[in-house]
Symmetry: C2
Subunit: 344 residues, 2 copies
DNA sequence: TACAGTTACCGAACCGGTTCAGCACGCGAG
DNA sequence: CTCGCGTGCTGAACCGGTTCGGTAACTGTA
């Protein structure tokens, strides 16, 4: 009834343990015939490797780790994460790796987990999310010697792999789109300013406006990703003497909340106010009116990042990938600005 | 530079490996003085246990597993999952366990993972989600001998722990609430009929209606949790000759989609149509109008289920917990039925 | 004082793999 | 025929813990 070990296979096949190990791992030093026989016996006995034993004798644990450092309240509202996870799993399944997930409250706890995992050899590599502007994790991880893929676009990345996403190009296209609709008073209701990708969007937002010669009301306001703040900010903006005619929200749920506030205040969307949501999701499609959204193939992004990581764990060099450019999907929340000058 | 092992600690403390092991695990057979000395040395050297070594010599892996069998499309739209995970982590952190997460496409793959994990001793226990009406997983898991907590309310549970949630009481209170508002034409737009909790809600829905003497239009319609179906169904219902005056959705995102459809069709919410969402979330609060919702403390539910599991892994008997009763939180999407008879 | 029982510790086996040194054998070259 | 070398396999050490049998020293009892 007990699970067969490599010793059982060896005995049954009439060879030494070591030989079985070589055969099962496709290493040289075993004749083709013996290898076939060993594989047949292993199959027959239903042998499965014991990851603990493997991990103990130097091989990795076949596990990659991912830590989410977000207040519990914020976790639920992000479809992004689950879709990313789907993508990660896609790649993990092919390579037989498993995913260790940890949810913590802040960056310090996250780094404590990295230290723990490293010292316990719990994971072979890390996926690093939610890059900060000055991110202490990169240095730590490099110092710990753990392979990692950084998801985002860091300036310095200390020999780690990077899965980039071009926030700048995406934001530029959004602003250009709104500008082409005649919007001049545009506000970017952003997520937490600590996040690098948010900062990058903010910069691109400002830069594009300047390039297009749009000045004045246009600005970025940081909302820390909570819906409370997003609603509050939107309320404030719409109550201004000369309110914005277009709002860009850094995620879909904030956008829904924002649209709600507009409606509550009697501001017509998209008649008087255009809204763009970042990160398209089913919610965007089925809200009313359906939200114009910036769509990124998050699943593929997660998959590619994981592929990169597995490559490094396998001994390859650190690499880079860049996610496919985001696409702006116009739906029902964007329209020509009410006060737009007629087409030139 | 290498990480200290138990042997290093033993040498440094001048005792045998075995003694160190006993001391570090708080087992008897070591004098108080020696124990203190060993602990001091371990601390000084920064010793950390190697989980692989522990797992290899009989102890568990200190990991619990959770498999999500849902089509990738459905994953993103469920705040429920992330909040549940927060609760799970709460308990795992105290006990030093880690969470292994796997996302698969269907129940067969899920069971394959269970077999794999069991044979590889990857996990010490399982959290089983999304209970089906006839759920083949329960038997499998019992057969594999893996401790598990079943989240839901199964008829038979084969010696496994159960974390119950009283769907019946919750649904009953929702129906009573709507009935008290004068609603007679109520439809329950349900999730997938395969899920046991959905079925339980459906039954409770019907039973309560019968008890209250409400018959006719009232019924449950299964929407499979996709927003497409939910929107489509809502559209169909509202187009009927005698459309429902109240809709109960099995999750918050379907409810938002439903409210959108109503608006699109010119049906006033809550004037002409009341809407209740299951699983309260920030989205419910900040949608407009804010959604009346059934609120469950999902975080605590996850925590309690995990506590139960850890108990069983620690050798305790299988147990049961029941989540705190759901609370109905009236917000802006429910009102007195338009055609309600005056108060008696 | 002799003996049994306890306490505190030692030493070794063991978990299930990986890896390396070494050995036997066969084959081609000289 | 002998030497040298590559091939194919063996046996053992090793990874870092846990656990168990054994034993020396100490304690209590008759």
């Amino acid at each position: 009834m007990k699970r067969p070990t490599i010793t059982d296979v060896a005995r049954r096949a009439g060879v030494a343990k070591g030989t079985v190990s070589y055969a099962l791992n496709g290493q040289p030093g075993v004749s083709e015939e013996t290898r076939r026989r060993i594989l047949a016996v292993a199959e027959e006995l239903g042998w499965r490797p014991n990851p603990a034993a493997r991990a103990l004798s130097g091989s990795g644990s076949q596990v990659i780790g991912m830590v989410l450092a977000r207040p519990a309240m914020l976790l639920g509202v992000e479809p992004f994460l689950m879709r990313l996870t789907s993508g990660i799993e896609l790649e993990l399944s092919r390579s037989g790796f498993a995913l260790m997930l940890k949810v913590v409250g802040d960056l310090d706890e996250e780094m404590a987990i990295y230290r723990k995992w490293a010292s316990e050899r719990r994971v072979d590599g890390l996926l690093i999310l939610d890059l900060r502007v000055q991110d202490p994790r990169l240095e730590l991880v490099e110092q710990l010697g753990l392979p990692a893929t950084v998801m985002g676009d860091p300036r310095r990345h200390a020999g780690l792999s990077v899965a980039r996403k071009d926030e700048t190009a995406a934001m530029t296209s959004v602003v250009e789109y709104l500008a082409a609709l005649g919007h001049r008073r545009i506000v970017h209701v952003a997520g937490q300013r600590e996040f690098l990708h948010i900062r990058q969007r903010g910069r691109a937002f400002g830069a594009t406006l300047r390039r297009l010669g749009i000045t004045g009301t246009a600005r970025t306001v940081y909302a820390d990703y909570t819906l409370e703040r997003a609603a509050e900010i939107t309320r404030g903006l719409l109550a201004e003497a000369s309110p914005p005619t277009a709002l860009i929200y850094d995620n879909d749920v904030m956008a829904v909340a924002g649209a709600g506030v507009a409606r509550e205040m009697g501001v017509d969307v998209p008649g008087e106010l255009s809204i763009v949501a970042w990160d398209d999701s089913p919610l965007c499609q089925f809200a009313y009116p359906p939200l114009t959204a910036v769509s990124v193939d998050v699943v593929e992004y997660g998959r590619a990042a994981t592929e990169l990581l597995i490559g490094v764990i396998g001994g390859g060099p650190a690499g880079e990938v860049t996610a496919e450019p985001a696409r702006l999907i116009p739906r029902g929340t964007t329209a020509r600005a009410k006060d737009a000058p007629g087409r030139a």
